[in-house]
Every structure is written in structure tokens, then in C-alpha cells.
Symmetry: D2
Subunit: 154 residues, 4 copies
Amino acid sequence: MGFEVTIRVYWEDTDAGGIVFYANYLKFFERARTEWLRSLGLHQRALREREGGMFVVSEASVRYLRPARLDDELVVTARLEEAGRASVVIAQQAFLRPPGGGAPDSAALLAEGRVRTGWVDAQRLRPARIPPLVAERLAQASGLSLHPFTNPTA
Amino acid sequence: MGFEVTIRVYWEDTDAGGIVFYANYLKFFERARTEWLRSLGLHQRALREREGGMFVVSEASVRYLRPARLDDELVVTARLEEAGRASVVIAQQAFLRPPGGGAPDSAALLAEGRVRTGWVDAQRLRPARIPPLVAERLAQASGLSLHPFTNPTA
Amino acid sequence: MGFEVTIRVYWEDTDAGGIVFYANYLKFFERARTEWLRSLGLHQRALREREGGMFVVSEASVRYLRPARLDDELVVTARLEEAGRASVVIAQQAFLRPPGGGAPDSAALLAEGRVRTGWVDAQRLRPARIPPLVAERLAQASGLSLHPFTNPTA
Amino acid sequence: MGFEVTIRVYWEDTDAGGIVFYANYLKFFERARTEWLRSLGLHQRALREREGGMFVVSEASVRYLRPARLDDELVVTARLEEAGRASVVIAQQAFLRPPGGGAPDSAALLAEGRVRTGWVDAQRLRPARIPPLVAERLAQASGLSLHPFTNPTA
């Protein structure tokens, strides 16, 4: 499943339907991407100060399979699926942690999606090539070689 | 462009990148869908009390073209694109309102997406057929006939 | 009641208790303060670009009297209560709009609070004196003279 | 400092000022209260199903001392300060975790506040006496005896 984080469902995440509000899965996915980057030594605030750029989402899609509720514990994953010079695609899933703990199985899948996030310069927000330091870390961690083998326009 | 609402960007909508946080477009889209339903006489809290059901999103996708910033005024649209017995697909767009006011043109498109939302019974959250009252209002408003001509499994 | 804005309660605002989540009243209050400032010709993004500073909240308190629910229409107010060289205190209330419309009475009061917001330079976030342009507009609008008669350390 | 949780600052928590949006401290405080209750064996969703009631905030106040930023790690505390038949007051603080880890000192205090939360029946949201099971757990954990020594009208 790739990198994973544990996320608890709090009151703030739910809505009057008694379930997690649909937009909040994009928050959960973002937390998982951020922790995955951190696990690679990529800290986004520091990156912005040093490299003058940041990742900005250009596409996101989510399928919602089962609702989550207050007090549920979720396992949220991030896996590099595609990498280009200027953007990467991350596949993400949210599972319900089984009541007794342990790894969730596929029946526990609550939502899944894909997020394309592109590098932009932080001032003008124009797309830019992912800095070499960042590209290397992503490549090493994923087993994908980011620049040579991928779509240069992505 | 179909039904539209005006939405102001407040501090709560922005993030440290200086732009609207990507998940918040799903909030804006939801507000536009809710106001579109309200314009058809469909009030979701009342519907739930009377019909025992509610709409729950089953799929959402967004393409982000240009960022929005604090104090921007957005025009957010909702248009019924597809209708089935148990779910509908809404096409949605967010535009930047021109500084002098007036209707935005296509160059002002900030984000666009599609949202599939299905009817569920509010207790068990199981998919159910859209109640006749709701289906009729949607059909009249959209010029689509909801049940006869559409995919019965959607 | 001072300046007021109308705010609709959407799914995003509610929680699994079926009511507006308590933190979201601070969002509503912020929207009312922002629109009040805008009504005085004070646009916060422009102010930051021109003056290099912004308002940051230093104290907030809220009393919650009655809950609000999905689809409710609220009237949220902002009134300058106290003004100093570096900060102002805004008194704020949220009322339920009566079903038939019109002005809410005191029985419709849902929440009320006070927010102290101070001027800081945007780079280092250090407290600073409110710029003369901003102070003048606040003074004219409120009938309070901001600088001479108020606590210089506030 | 009482019970504490660790909370990471994500993009969703920040605003265009580059800092954590002021309302979001109430989210952080809520998470700390929820985890504190959970540590006492009090699970709010289960409580609601079993007891038919829930805690709803009736008063909240926050003082903001220093801003938090993206990627910061916070330590957020909850401590029972006052207990009545129908409500409790929780004192809460948010500290910046030192870069090298370890316990934050008082210079790292970012925000502090007090939250009064009252028990209500979940259907009609009317104030009610805290159920004995809940009152006992709170009393044992806190060293406060909830009912005999406290203000019966609180």
C-alpha cells in the first residue's frame, strides 16, 4: 500500500449526515502526502524557503466507497504512481482500521483517489521543473527514475 | 453555465501558499449544489426529515487551472449532466469574477469538476432510489427526464 | 447591531451532532469582520501589499446559546467596541434569521463573542501601530476616535 | 500540564498569513479533549448511542500568544479545571514542540484557552445531567469529585 499514516476522525471532520464530509478526504490525503515527503527528508516549509517553490495540486479525483464516522481510525496511504519533470501523481487510499487494530484489508477501503501535484515557483505560482534535490529523493524512495524515463510535458 | 452562486474567498479558505486550499473547492462546489437544489424547492434538511434520505457524494474530480486568493470573488456553477435512478452527476466550475464585476469569461476559469452524488437512506446509508418528488423537480429543472432514459444502475 | 452579513449554514459547517461545529462560529465572525472592513474601503489583501501588515487575532471568546443547523440562515454582526494604537476589539453576534425573513430579535441569538485583533507586520508578525489610513477609516466609521482617547498599550 | 496530544500543522490548518488560522486552535483543542476522554474510556460516539447524549460547547475563549506555521509540531493539552452536574470546564494550551523534540517550556506557549462543555440530550439538545458513568470517570481521572463539591447550576 506504500507509505501510510494513521488518522483519527474528530468532530471537525464529520457533518450533519453523521459521516466524514467528502472534502475532508482531500485533507487526509494531503496529510499523508506531507508525511510521505517528510519521510523522504522533504520538509515543505524548508523547501519553500530554500528552493523558492512548492507543490500545488493540479488534479484530484476521489471515489467514495464507504462512509467513515466519528472516532473511527483510518489508515491513509500515499504511493508515487507517475513522475514527470514538473509534476507527480500520487495514488491514495483511506481504509478503516479494524476495531482490534492491525492492517486493514481491502473490504475496509473507504475512499481512493489520485492527486497530481506540480512544482511551482512560490511567488508567481508558475509551473517549474522539480528541483534536483527533490526529484532525487522521490526517485530513490520510489524506485522510479523521475526525469529520464517520464513524460517531459507532464 | 447553468445555476450559479457568488462566493467570496475568506482567510479560512486560503493556505500558507497564499491561495485557496485545494480541498476547499469541494466546499464551494457543495454550496453551489445546495443552492441549486434550494432553487428547485429542494431543502436538504427538510428532505431528510420528510423522505428519510439524503444525497451523499460517491465520486468527485477537480482540475485546478488557476489559483484564487484572499478577497477574490468567485462565480461557482452547478449543472445537471447525467441523471439515474439512484444518483446524479453535476458538472461544476469556479470562475474568478472580473474586478469590475460582470460575467466571467472562460479565461477566468479557476477550477472545474464533476461530482456524482447518490441518494441514500439516512439511517443505514444504503443507496436507494431518488424519491419521486426529488426526481421530478430535477427533471423539470434540467429538461432531462430522470428515470426512463437513463442508466438504471447508475 | 452594527454591520451585518447573511451567512447560510452548509454541510461543511455542521458536525455529526447535527449542528454547526463550535469552531466555525469563528469563521463566521471572521467573514463578518472582513466584510465590515471591506465596507470601510479596507481590503485586506491590498492592505497587506501596500502597508506590509495585516490584522491577526490575539484574543477571542464565544458564548454559545442555541445551536444552528443545516440550511439555517444566520445574521452575523461586527461592531467596533474598543480601539487602540495597535489593536481593536470587535463585538460580534450570530442570530438565526426568522423563517419568514426580516430582522432577528434577541431570542434568535445563537452565539456572541468578542475578538481582539492586532496589527502586525506581515513578515515578522511583530505587533505594530495600525497604519494611519486604516485608523482613520475605522474612526470615521465607528464614531470612535482611535488614537487619542484609547489605551496606548492595547 | 495534564493530558497531552501531539498535533502536526498541515496546509489545511494555515492561512494566507502564513500561520495557523485562529479558528483552528479550537479544532486542536477539541482533538485534545476527545483524546483525553478516550484515555478515560469515554468514546463519544459510543456514549451517544448508549446514553443518548453528548457534550456540546457552551463557552470558549482563547488567547493567541505566538503564531504556529506549516510543519510545526504542537503539544496540545487538556486539564479538567471545574466540574458541575451538567457541564465541565477544560483548560487547554498549545505549545510549540522544540525542534529537537522533548517537552516544551512555557516560552513555547502559542495559545491557551478555556472551554466549557455541557451535556445535552442528543435529540433535543437540551442541557441534562452528566450521566453517572461519565461523571465517575471524570472524577477518578481528575482527582476532583464532580458532584458533591461543585456548583449545582453550572
